[in-house]
Assembly symmetry: C2
Homo-oligomer: 137 residues x 2
DNA sequence: ATTTGTACTTGTAAAATGCAAGTAAATATA
DNA sequence: TATATTTACTTGCATTTTACAAGTACAAAT
């Protein structure tokens, strides 16, 4: 009847209810920069997510159409996860978090620094290029 | 000895460890658009944070210099919370979350819509103006 | 002197997390 | 062909976090 699943209609609040935790954006980050990952790939991330949490997050993100499952071309045993358009559009958020984090935390990895240098040169272009790369199947 | 409090040195991961939960950015949002709030003001938000969670988050955010406490000019009983420079600089993240959320959730409040219309007209100018407003004590 | 307002703290049940181990099906290997 | 291994999960359980209700301490208003 009523749409009362949200604590409020504030877009920030609704967004946080979906991916506002310590893991969802890590998964999304990995998919954003690796394009496609298997479950095993995601487990390999430096942050060491545990298997049950990963499975739970993937399920929620899929149900909310942020990611989707794909058949692996070479194996029926493997599953490919990728971002949907809705997921890809989280890129500007990830970029701003990256930029803020770069400013306030030390020992940023070189890869990240290089990427952010590119971002700072021309943010819009970076977003366009990255999104385009992700969009091509 | 070692700086091993972080799961990784990824700026996204470090950021999420600090404010990657369902409440921190709600508090920061309120401070961003109200400039200064008392504890009671923050409790009044539509999302209905509970008192112990609010106290815990305020403590963490203060310890990490995202917010600071101020004396209330009219009362020793009240406490004013405001964003530090570090906190104010979360504005671009809040804006991008707002824009994403606006696109994927329904029934966005009119105030928010109006604000985002302004943002979309000229994002940089909006950020500059909002930050300036917050900076003036 | 008593009540109210404000910023918390405390207790406790419920939920989420983190870790270790287990399972089922597909594939690789002997 | 039989066995082992890989892959994507699930399950059980201890620990931690959350949510709700109530309580406390001090300032200020009545």
């Amino acid at each position: 009847m009523s749409k009362d699943k949200h604590r409020s209609n504030c877009p920030i609040s609704c967004s946080l209810e979906l991916w506002g935790d310590k893991w969802s954006l890590i998964i999304i980050r990995d998919l954003m920069f690796a394009k496609q990952c298997t479950y095993g790939d995601l487990l390999k991330s430096e942050e060491q997510i545990s298997t049950n949490i990963l499975a739970a997050r993937l399920k929620t993100l899929e149900q909310n159409m942020v990611i989707e499952k794909l058949e692996h071309p070479n194996s029926k045993l493997k599953v490919l996860y990728k971002l949907t358009k809705k997921g890809i559009e989280l890129l500007p958020i990830l970029i701003e978090i990256n930029l803020w984090g770069e400013k306030y935390y030390a020992d940023i990895p070189d890869r990240t620094k290089a990427l952010l240098k590119d971002v700072k040169k021309d943010k819009k272009s970076f977003i366009r290029r990255t999104m385009k790369k992700l969009d091509i199947d």
